[in-house]
Symmetry: C2
Subunit: 343 residues, 2 copies
Amino acid sequence: MIIDCHGHYTTAPKPLDAFRAQQVAALGDAARTAALTLPSISDDAIRTSIEGAQLRIQRERGTDVTIFSPRASGMAHHIGDAATSEVWSRLCNDMVHRVCTLFPRNFVGVCQLPQSPGVAPANCVAELERCVTQLGFVGCNLNPDPSGGYWTDPPLIDRWWYPLYEKMVELDVPAMIHVSASCNPNFHTTGGHYICGDTTAFMQLITADLFKDFPTLKFIIPHGGGAVPYHWGRYRGLAQDMKRPPLPELLLRNVFFDTCVYHQPGTDLLAKVIPVENILFASEMVGAVRGIDPETGHYFDDTKRYIEAAAGLSAADRQKIYEGNARRVYGRLSAQMAKQGIG
Amino acid sequence: MIIDCHGHYTTAPKPLDAFRAQQVAALGDAARTAALTLPSISDDAIRTSIEGAQLRIQRERGTDVTIFSPRASGMAHHIGDAATSEVWSRLCNDMVHRVCTLFPRNFVGVCQLPQSPGVAPANCVAELERCVTQLGFVGCNLNPDPSGGYWTDPPLIDRWWYPLYEKMVELDVPAMIHVSASCNPNFHTTGGHYICGDTTAFMQLITADLFKDFPTLKFIIPHGGGAVPYHWGRYRGLAQDMKRPPLPELLLRNVFFDTCVYHQPGTDLLAKVIPVENILFASEMVGAVRGIDPETGHYFDDTKRYIEAAAGLSAADRQKIYEGNARRVYGRLSAQMAKQGIG
């Protein structure tokens, strides 16, 4: 079985974005905000949005299940306040839940959190709990920079985040550390901010003893871990200079990387440098890069091809990357998959 | 001959930092600022600071010349205002000039610019001109984020930067795009901010036609290009989705990567993915990572070993990486080296 741990509902029906546009237009106007009505979206519209996109591509590429969450750039936690984010997050999570209900064999849910810059992440606990205990979700996306590219909140190692971590540990759900859209003209969203968010978060984790406080807390760093595997020597060396433990001991029981790296040499490096136990298959499909690589004739984000071709991986290694690691990192995944009737 | 294009004066005598501390302590106090006296540092103190560090290591590792600039994290453009940065930059540049004068066979200068957040980079033109025409420097370090981790100035593709680019082109000097210290607790300076600065700058360059306006402008992206080579497929794919020209046509006549990648698999990837014409040898020595890699028994930043071992590089390729490309990218380098009596 092949589990893709990184898929977003990037193809949601248009009324979802239309609602968001109305919500944004009503910002600062309490009456107009109160009068907003949630969009009416039929099951058929959801089916169409999935069947022609993620489901078709799953079949074409031979993957089985996608761990599915709301569009990452759509979270846009920097817009409005915590109340804005709460309404929007609930709606987006409910949409993902409907996808998982309509296609229970193909999608398992992960939630967006109602973060807001300057607001303590404790405010996300209720929505996380709702999604996990009521909607059957198995994880969350955690935005390390709710400001959208100005990085004004405390780093992930700060106690500011601890109430959320406590709930994650209690529920046995990991977080994918995933920034959202950038509102800073310096950062292109998917080419700059995403990759820098991954790299920044990893380096934060080197500097503190977060995983002593939370030995079972688990993070997935997407996009192949940002720059980290390419600079693995630098990070090993920095940790050593800082008198930190070796990286395997310091964080590789808690930190995992996905395979959203869109060319063979990058995937080869990832598979060579990072222990196979720390790599989770993912494609980010339908996501940041949608075209065909003229050098290969295949879609850039058809990451299964790179894993298949990666030198030095045994069949057992591939099984871990495709399935075993995901079942281990997402503590509720196997039970949830059984509930949804998945193999 | 082996030219290391990325060395900083990280070992400068203590009175330099003591002066900086006094300058910072005097911020906002005009009388105290006016009364500051530049530090008195003897030639012998400079000789000692170099002979036991960069010069010794050059000899041990078998490199010949270092393109040498002030300590990157020391630039700290976010401290004080443009006047603060001007005094500090002139002093740091003069120190580098003294190193190049005392060791003309081993060091060629590159300058720090007196940038300041919110201040138009046109203010850097005079210091650049002084360093190039009077001190014999061959390039500059350009900080894409003078705010020190809040990214509040316009991106590098903005006309805001054009007066500086015009002067660079006129003088035929490239810039290494290099952030300085981070004052944002989210960004570890050498493990987060440096690598993200590299990645961010590269993505900015994909989105605009800067090199149509400046066909001969040249940038070196340090630290192996940040995350870029590892995600080369992503960047090729993003450019294609955005209907931009292929990367070689769009920017590889103007953008170059150094080899500050501190393990063999990373260097192998760099050499495989990036055209050999776009790779310049560098070590960042004495720099961000100072220890010995327990996996190899050699210094992490002994990057020559990785280039020597990189599969697929011919002797001619190595000559380009070690020397030929630097002579081409730094338009004044060969003449300056001749003047300094180098090879």
